[in-house]
């Protein structure tokens, strides 16, 4: 994003056209996760910890390869393992890299009451600013993916930043850098969408996954992290990826109609009592008595 300002407008003493003039810049970034080529090596988990300076957490064994049940405030990237039994009785070991989806319409941002604690950049990255965070945890309620996590020591909420510090310097996120199979890709949103669709088509036409598809849920305006799934009709099988994620309706009700109704009611109440006083005045006792 920062390089966008270095796009050249005019050049002194230069014959001919300005290099790059008329180019259409794509600002929106996207991470593509192809679950069909993930081998569950967890290199991305380690790279995430290393780049973001997070210490390794206590792991939990639950009859699975999964490191822990869900992401934590200091563990932003987690491969979810799920042994999925197909209709024909065969097993499929599904592996899905879970992290912040960087929604186009972020529920966390909608629910947050603190000025500037959550920002969404033009490139689509949704980032938490812990110095403005008040630790209320409303973002945890607004998120349809169970991603923001509360740190009991910092009393603030943390999550994946899509390595915004790397991306602004023209680097790909740490998880992408570490992936040995190439199941992780990073680029502009249209590019990644196209790559994902072509991979899904290949899976459908050449690999026998008739319901393969791309996960870019419309209910939250699309996401800046998209998946290729063997079976796009059943994202829930991939460790609880919601089928139709949306901002909870109570959060929407609270943040728009209730806010308007409430504010109008408060103002009407204040105007009402002032008006009543001007029209009818106080209730006075029958005779003015001297107070003790």
């Amino acid at each position: 994003m920062s390089q966008a300002t270095l796009e050249i407008r005019r050049i002194s003493g230069h014959a001919g056209s300005v290099p790059g003039a008329g180019l259409r810049r794509e600002f929106e970034v996207c991470k593509l996760i192809d679950t069909t080529t993930c081998i569950g090596c967890k290199a991305c988990e380690v790279a995430c910890l290393e780049w973001n300076g997070l210490t390794f957490s206590e792991t939990t064994f639950n009859n699975s390869y999964q490191t822990m049940p869900e992401t934590q405030w200091n563990y932003w990237n987690l491969i979810k393992f799920n042994e999925h039994e197909r209709d024909d009785g065969t097993l499929q070991l599904l592996m899905r890299k879970d992290q912040c989806m960087h929604c186009e319409e972020p529920g966390c941002l909608a629910a947050c009451p603190a000025d500037g604690a959550i920002v969404q950049y033009v490139n689509g990255i949704v980032d938490f600013q812990q110095d403005h965070c008040i630790g209320c945890g409303y973002c945890m309620t607004g998120c349809p993916f169970n991603i923001p996590k509360f740190s009991p020591t910092a009393r603030k909420v943390f999550k994946c930043t899509l390595c915004v510090d790397r991306v602004t310097q023209g680097l790909e996120p740490a998880c992408i850098k570490s992936c040995p199979t190439g199941c992780l890709h990073f680029g502009t949103k249209p590019e990644m969408k196209e790559l994902a669709e072509s991979r899904a088509a290949q899976l459908r036409e050449e690999s026998g996954f008739a319901t393969a598809g791309v996960y870019d849920p419309a209910g939250i305006g699309g996401t800046h992290v998209i998946y290729v799934l063997h079976d796009a009709t059943n994202p829930e099988a991939y460790g609880g990826l919601p089928n139709d994620p949306r901002i909870p309706w109570t959060v929407k009700l609270w943040k728009t109609p209730l806010k308007w109704i409430g504010n109008l009611a408060i103002v009407a109440g204040l105007v009402g009592v002032v008006g009543h006083y001007l029209r009818f005045g106080p209730k006075l006792p029958p005779e003015e008595e001297e107070r003790p």
Binding site: E70, P113, C136, P248, A265, L270, H276, F280, P285
Partner: protein, 215 residues
């Protein structure tokens, strides 16, 4: 001095010291809850949090103030609940409300110690307090509510502001009535006493009961 007693100087004790202390613990904690709550309610009012040490401090202390408020309301229940049952007079009070609003108090049926409006205020704060406590406990500890129980969080984020708004309505009327409208009632909640004339005019049934009682 105990409530509902005639004082040596002819004035009447309306609120005992215990009642006044409990009232002001509830009142001051409510004021804190209102102002910090409004800071979380609207970005245009977030500056209110600055007055109380910033957003983080307000978020930390708001639930504790809520506990103080709820405990004070619990004491109020113990002090006043048996005087807050709706009576025939209260039903007539609501029918005579236009007269009460227009300060035609002679047209209003004779109130006992608390009139119909005061009873609605009491039960309004009592029930809103219960809903605010239950939803507030969920909002206090969101990390302790597991993902499988997230619907409780979804419910809490809408229940808490709805009932808070209801209390704001009650609060506006209560403060207006207790300060600008019936000025002597503010004094009664600070020092406890009212004049005999005030009691006779606004709470005639209570006044008559007091005068009949041996003292």
């Amino acid at each position: 001095m105990s409530a509902s007693a005639v004082l040596p100087d002819g004035r009447i004790c309306r609120y005992s010291l215990r009642e006044r202390v409990v009232h002001w613990i509830a009142g001051i904690s409510y004021l804190y809850l209102l102002l910090t709550g409004l800071a979380f309610w609207s970005p245009w009012l977030f500056w209110l949090a600055t007055l109380f040490g910033g957003g983080t401090v307000s978020r930390e202390l708001h639930p504790w103030a809520g506990l103080v408020f709820v405990i004070a309301v619990g004491f109020m229940y113990g002090l006043w609940a048996n005087q807050m049952h709706t009576t025939q007079t209260d039903r007539e009070f609501w029918r005579a409300l236009p007269h009460y609003v227009r300060n035609e108090d002679e047209e209003v049926p004779p109130a006992d110690r608390f009139n119909g409006g005061q009873k609605v205020l009491f039960w309004g704060f009592f029930w809103c307090g219960i809903f605010l406590l239950l939803s507030g406990l969920i909002l206090w500890f969101p990390p302790l509510i597991p993902w499988s129980l997230r619907y409780f969080r979804y419910a809490a984020v809408i229940i808490h502001p709805v009932f808070a708004l209801l209390t704001i309505g009650l609060f506006i009327v209560h403060v207006y009535m207790g300060t600008a409208m019936e000025r002597d009632s503010f004094h009664s909640m600070v020092r406890g006493d009212v004049s005999a004339g005030w009691a006779r005019k606004f709470h005639p049934a209570w006044y008559d009961r007091l005068m009949r009682a041996p003292h």
